[in-house]
Subunit: 359 residues, 4 copies
């Protein structure tokens, strides 16, 4: 992890003024997390936050944690002056951003979608997994997949960013050094992932009630999960070849956090610890731990960090990578801000200096 994380506050922006930011759909967990980060961002100014259902309600009434820190009220998306923003974040359900994108892009607004509209390159794949045709295939073509550790330069110039999902972020960053170096069998990767419940969003559903999800653990989506094609697309890009992935997500009784436990069959020997350290040297938000470490998810709670450890159990032919992120920060809102920083030539770590809350 480079020193940039500490020096996020240094100046250096090309903008002489603050970036004007808007949020569409601010009542979910990624929305309130964006508010937490942007309200304290030294180079951003929060201009509008929309919610059709809650229009008129002060944001701090719904989220008292923001009392005294965010004075905005939710505004009607139809009336919000999003076109006056430099950047608009979509913290909405799938399908919303792609409807609004053409008009905003035309108005010169840059767009970061935290949902899935601009993740999958193939519109047919999108249609298959999200059960709707893609509404702006043209813009999809130019959209950039917002994983800075893979696409940093493209992000700087992007008009539209499709932000990676939370699982995909943790899995891709964990497998990347291995696949980029061609050291493992790309056709038999396994990602056994454990997520906190906030990953399921702030929706009134029985399955994620406290009394259902507390003190219990289960797998879900074993037969097929929307993040599966996204991860395979990303890993294939890194490997430069097709990949095969078994992906098993689990719902675990914690609020935030993803722990991805990754397995790959070694095809060529190497010093894997050194490989990981060199691969991520200088990356501000990827932390390769010393050999033998096992990261806990709370070590990144509230922070924009992906913490990795690499193991080779019993010196055998399988490599095990442990990868943890906060699904709402490096897995969503923090990564969105990291993208914004890149897009507006701000220090990449600006506004992302939060230290994880422990305990």
């Amino acid at each position: 992890m480079g020193s940039a994380a500490q020096s996020g506050e240094r100046s250096g922006s090309a903008l002489s003024r603050r970036v004007r930011a808007g949020i569409v759909g601010g009542t979910g967990y990624t929305g309130v997390e964006l508010l937490r980060l942007l309200a304290a961002h030294p180079h951003a100014e929060l201009r509008a936050i929309t919610s059709r259902k809650e229009a008129g309600m002060p944001v701090a009434e719904m989220f008292p944690s923001l009392r005294g820190r965010v004075d905005l009220a939710f505004s009607d998306p139809a009336q919000a002056s999003l076109a006056d923003c430099d950047v608009v974040f979509f913290a909405t359900p799938h399908g919303v951003a792609m409807e609004a994108a053409p008009r905003l892009v035309e108005a010169g607004v840059r767009l970061i979608d935290l949902a899935a509209d601009f993740r999958l390159r193939d519109p047919l794949q999108f249609e298959r997994w999200y059960r709707m045709p893609h509404a702006c295939v043209k813009l999809l073509e130019e959209a950039v997949y917002g994983l800075p550790e893979v696409n940093r330069e493209a992000i700087r110039r992007a008009r539209i960013v499709g932000l990676p999902g939370c699982y995909p972020t943790s899995v891709q960053l964990g497998f990347k050094p291995l696949l980029a170096a061609g050291l493992v069998d790309p056709l038999h990767l396994i990602a056994d992932c454990k997520s906190g419940v906030s990953g399921a969003g702030r929706k009134a559903e029985v399955g994620i009630l406290f009394s259902e999800a507390a003190d219990s653990l289960k797998a879900y989506g074993v037969g097929g999960h929307r993040h599966h094609p996204e991860i395979e697309q990303g890993l294939a890009g890194i490997a430069g070849a097709p990949v095969g992935l078994i992906f098993t997500p689990h719902l675990t009784p914690m609020i935030r956090g993803i722990h991805a436990t990754l397995y790959a069959r070694i095809t060529r020997d190497a010093d894997f610890q050194q490989l990981f350290e060199e691969h991520y040297r200088g990356e501000p938000f990827v932390d390769v731990m010393p050999a033998g470490s096992m990261p806990d998810t709370r070590s990144v709670r509230g922070a924009n960090t992906c913490r990795l450890a690499v193991h080779r159990p019993h010196g055998g032919d399988t490599i095990t990578v442990l990868s943890v992120i906060d699904n709402l920060v490096k897995g969503a809102a923090g990564q969105a801000v990291q993208n914004m920083n890149l897009m507006f030539d701000l220090p990449e770590a600006a506004g992302l200096g939060q230290i994880a809350l422990l305990p």
Copy 2:
């Protein structure tokens, strides 16, 4: 899951009187769970429970949940009349049972060890993993590994039972149908296991404090865990051949429960759902769920059940088995009582009819 689970109370014991049971080391979680089960067992009578440190204290003072249900006080192990018992359970740290075994066995007492003294067949393996020489190699030779689904008949006649660990129970029951039928590559098995914190015992250690373990998740023992040789020994016995296993335990923020997510490479095709259903037909405490199911750990909370589901993601060449148990019941005290029932010719399900507590 056969109907026996419901009819545990039917008579049929060869004994004309209740089995007299003693517990050595009753202040831990497996101890108090044994108390919960034995206090309500129709054919057992709790005669003594020992604790060196707490001798003289009424059991119900330490565990108020037992007020009005268990009248015993802890007694000094040196003075407890364990030799008058028919069976003695050792809910102690590793190394205690093997010291006491020769004297008790000679006195005609049968012995069920919930620790590791009689799990590993090879005394050198024991010494390597538990850092002490084995104290009674002779008795180790005759000890039976207490997994009824594998060793039912041997358990009936056993004088000494080494009860499986919690992880090993969940992993062996999940892989067993596949290995017994020879359908998967035995040399590249993966067991990604998630455990509740009670699996670590009732010890004053910082790492399992509420403020350390709550709202977080981490892997541990990736480089080597004591249950690894035990699982490999058991799986090799089932497969009739050497096995290779990657075993990754995780500490998760729940009290009870193990969720084992198992991966194996298919070498021969089959109807895996049917295989599992037939393999466990009639087993009173193994429940194969319908195709497509994903069990949650709470569905076995407090119950002596192992619940299994088998998946073949995307119809590929990897099989994924989901296996859940309550680590303190089917993974410890419940399985111990199941063994006792077999050893004394009681109905196998006697005293084990508890329905899981949900929510």
Copy 3:
């Protein structure tokens, strides 16, 4: 706590056959808890369980904890042959039982309502707090408030029982000895209550999502809660005089459990410990702990026990009573079964011998 709790299984029923029981509305937490208790009840037979929305679905499909233990499917309430039952439990929202009661009572079925339809004696009070007129004022007059420690004899003869709410059970049992003996100021009682989240039911609401309710704590209903008039009615009955109560419920991050912390100003001196012990001597499900004790809610998790401790801090003029129950057992389904046992001349503790699950 009398010895009856241990001898629930002794015979003695006047019925030569099992009590035929039906459940209306079995998809909530009180419903599944009734299923857990009735499925293992030695003198009851589960005949029907209804759910309009889930008609046709096997109960064990919704609640896998019941696989192999409950073979029933949900049936349509309109078609279920509830009139063939001896007793019908209503585990429904408020307002359902009172609509169905006249027809069932006429058919000779006895009725236990776990909702509020038959709790408040005054139909105007009911209308004020539950926002609907009472549908069968006639039957309300004869209904019995199902708190056995207060109304045991009336319950035996009741055709309709209005089961106490969870908070009211914990608060009334805690204040009862003091008010019955006239030792405290009845006009300035304070009940500071902490509840697990399952008390809010199995409803898809944002406020009780895991990510909202975990790792946090808040008061609610400070300005007025439906259990307030119910508690005041019960306490006034016990005191034989009007009472004044401040009632502050809190939502706490646990699944089950209520901890009521009760404060009263002493008006006449007494040995309060002795008072409580004598008052509840022989009660099968009220456990007065030794002086100085502080019960935890887990000591009654899954059990039909109310555990009490009485304190007089610094020997001053305020008495503090600590009262814990499992809101789904002694606060709902367990108390319902206790009432059924009384109504059908079964041993009061039949089917209620579960020992609390600890840890």
Copy 4:
């Protein structure tokens, strides 16, 4: 809540350089929280952190959340150059600070004790509750009780600050407006307090293990708690008269947070909402919520805020105040930094701009 909370970063310090800070005893929860806050403080520089047991270990090895953010290693307290610091925080067990204080004060170092050595004005009270004689009665006389909302001016000049306990902070801030205005009976105050488990510290004790404290709730210290005399001392100072307090702390299954529910008998009528709002107008870290509000502890998780709501249930003669803080921030480390800011003429909110982590 004044606007200062947002403008903590404005300049204005009298110091031309950063405040050099040392921490004694940095391995507990208040220690690591001080590290989190000081590492990001714009006007402070962390110079030394001591731990006898862990001397030599890098701080970030024990707390990986600090990797890349704190480069210090723990140093031996005997050898640490604490005398070179401007201020030293004692995050130690009771009794340590008072031993070290004379030497440090003589060296011109200012001292903030997060333990109890300088809280109680009366050394005999200290001896009674903490079971040791006070080691520097002289310095105790000049020590200032570090509650800025009461003692702001005295804190600015203090050489030694005894920081309030977590419960005392939440209770005093809640009762203060009422007692200062003389509107309630000071002799019959009730504080029913609920604390997260981190309040018990990072000690290897069975009672605060995850498996003991999760999914359960209990009162403790009902007969006497060390914070009781501290709270009474503080409230008496505010009231200008003796007070009588019933204080019931509860252990609840969350990591951080205190919820104090306060009851007082009204002796003189007033507009209590207005009273609270005016009383705390301009206070940077006390937030009086609108009438009818009920704060949750998570709304202050990680933030230095005390959030208050005042209720008068049913318009009766009892007032109910709800007061929430994060026990490790406004209840410990954050309040310590707030005191440091005052002592060194920094903006009071410097380094305390963290927004609560929600969810």
